[in-house]
Amino acid sequence: MPLSIPPLLPLQWLQPTWLWLLFALAIPLLIHLIRRSRPREITFAAAQWLLPRQQRHWNRFVLRDRLLLLLRLLLVTLLALLLAQPLLKSDTEAQENVLLVDPRIQAAELDDFLQRHPELQQVFWLQSAPREVSAPRPEPQDNWRVLSRLSTNGTFRRAHILLLDTENPSGHQSLRVSPDWQWHRIEDTAAPAVPDLPRIAVAGDGPAWLQPVMEQLREQLGTGFSFTPLTDINELAAHSTANTAQADWLIYDTAGPLPAALQTFVQQGGLLITGQGVQWDEVNKFTALDSQPAAEAASVGRGSWLRYTQDWHSAPFYQRAALPELLWQQWSLQDWHFQFHSRSHWSIDSRPETPVPDSQVVRLRKIPLDRWLMLLIALLLLVERSIALSRREAGMVHTAGEKRHA
């Protein structure tokens, strides 16, 4: 069992980079050493009672004005600490009567919710730095990120969370949540978003089995599904550059070199599905797919090209069970845009969450040390200046007797 040693001081730094400033401690040290190595020259007639002592080598490194040096070192240290912004650890109680509100929720709905839950006393906006709900309504932030950040916050460890029940966009990292959070939802009264399905088009004549397969898919997927035969290929390319593509997936079945318009379509991010006869000399790196029917894929520009390695006009290709589902699966796997879009949503019912264990909860509270540090620095600066100036005044007396060379 690993031992966890508690740190000596319950201190953490908000800006630990500034601690590099501690290397500046060398500056006053160097100045003192340099200044020391130049002796003051004075005329002194009673020199016969002074003994020129044997010079010791380490003598050069003995510091004088130690108090002054100490003050200056302290000043630099304090400045570094001030800039690093120390955080003093303190136990913050996780409270249960806290509600975090999604900023997208309307005021009337929130009031209604609060009337039904009178035990919730403190209401905050759901933000990276939660503010009281009396503050002006903030811009909606990415809930994924906000929740992940709040999951390590000790204050909101046991909070209630009120979300608008829509699809929330997700992030790259996993959603981190506190296991003690209690989730609430308010139904989104706005119209539900139409599921976004890729639009399929065929350029020229497709294989004979295409039309029936598309009919079956339309029955399964519903109204969002679109399949259009395309007559003018050049028009497609022109539109795709203007980002108003008439199709996301394009089926092409004319053996021979690929027309330039279709090459552009793929490079702009479309998915091209062809039979084995289609040639494109510049593309030669294909990856064989392990799914059936046998095919190979290559990524070209921002899009990809799926080419079947067996003749898709032959009977073994289309005479297999559940051909539409197989094709849909195979094609959608190749379309990164579609995958990203369909996967990156989560709702309150299905949270791709990772609970944050208690050990990772940061029970830190920023203690306003800044003001005290600044006061201390000002005080030390005053002391240091007064000492240095009084030294200089005494030094003026000494310099008066210094030998002047004619």
């Binding site: 020259e41 009673a46 020199a47 002592r53």
Partner: protein
């Protein structure tokens, strides 16, 4: 009461005026009673009083005025004070609080003021300035013009070299053939091995020429107020390249005070107590202390 501050002391060129100013300030309120009596230089007439010698009655005046008047003249003082001023390079030592003023300038002013007091007393005084480059001598005399001459010679004096050795001093002894008192003004910084200055004072004392010493120091020599690293330049040679003032202070003060005690003891043995003055104290104060210590002048 400080009549002249150190800055004025350092800045004023006219020693005759300055010394008169200081001395008259000292004499302020003092009874101006010169010793009058028999002498050559006429001073005043006064009425005959019982007890006066009838030899002193001016008979011609009696014939004219039918009254007895006694003729008085300044009494000629037999006292001769020879001021010996050390002009070796160590007298260049400036004050550390008032860098314009050095030991020699202070000594010049002090000597000039003393001479003014002697002149007002009617005493004769002479001046001998010594260093190893040679000596300068102002023969004995009295009166205001003699004071001015002495002041001029003082103004011309510059500090350089060392205290003269025995062969150079041999030319000086002729000035002490007449009975006189000697005032020796110096900082008495001498290497313990040569002892030329002590020998000079001892020899004067042995010849029954009392040697009244005044030591002029700078305050920093008594306190050593320095800190940090010092490079010492000794005006009489022997520079010390580097020393830590803080570490040396105790040793220095011990050695310096021991030397001072020895010096005081040597002069006390000859019944001529040493007066120690720092450049930072006013001239008149030093002069009063000197006079009080000896009780012979003033």
């Amino acid at each position: 009461m400080q009549l002249i501050d150190p800055l004025t002391l350092a800045a004023t060129r006219d020693l005759a005026w300055l010394s008169r100013h200081i001395a008259e300030g000292m004499l302020l309120g003092m009874q101006h009673s010169q010793r009058r009596g028999a002498g050559i230089e006429f001073q005043q007439y006064r009425s005959y009083e019982p007890g006066d010698s009838i030899r002193n009655i001016d008979w011609k005046l009696f014939a004219r005025s039918d009254r007895y008047y006694v003729r008085e003249a300044d009494q000629e003082s037999q006292m001769h004070v020879c001021v010996v001023l050390d002009a070796s390079a160590s007298m260049q030592q400036p004050s550390f609080t008032c860098p314009e003023l050095n030991k020699l300038q202070y000594a010049k002013c002090w000597v000039a003021t003393l001479c003014w007091l002697l002149y007002r007393q009617g005493d004769r005084f002479s001046l001998l300035v010594l260093n190893d480059a040679g000596h300068r001598y102002v023969p004995a005399g009295q009166g205001e013009s003699h004071h001015r001459r002495t002041a001029l010679e003082l103004e011309r004096t510059q500090a350089r070299g060392h205290w003269p050795d025995a062969s150079q001093l041999s030319a000086v002894w002729q000035y002490f053939e007449q009975p006189c008192q000697t005032v020796l003004v110096s900082d008495f910084f001498e290497a313990p091995q040569d002892g030329g200055m002590s020998g000079f004072a001892a020899r004067l004392h042995a010849a029954d020429r009392p040697c009244l010493p005044l030591q002029i120091l700078v305050e920093a020599e008594q306190t050593f107020p320095f800190d940090g690293e010092l490079k010492i330049v000794d005006p009489e040679g022997g520079d010390i390249p580097e020393l830590g003032a803080h570490q040396q202070r105790d040793d220095y003060l011990r050695a310096f005070n021991a030397a001072q005690r020895a010096l005081v003891a040597r002069f006390a043995a000859r019944a001529c107590p040493l007066t120690v003055a720092t450049v930072e104290t006013p001239v008149e104060q030093t002069l009063r202390a000197f006079i009080a210590a000896h009780g012979r002048i003033g």
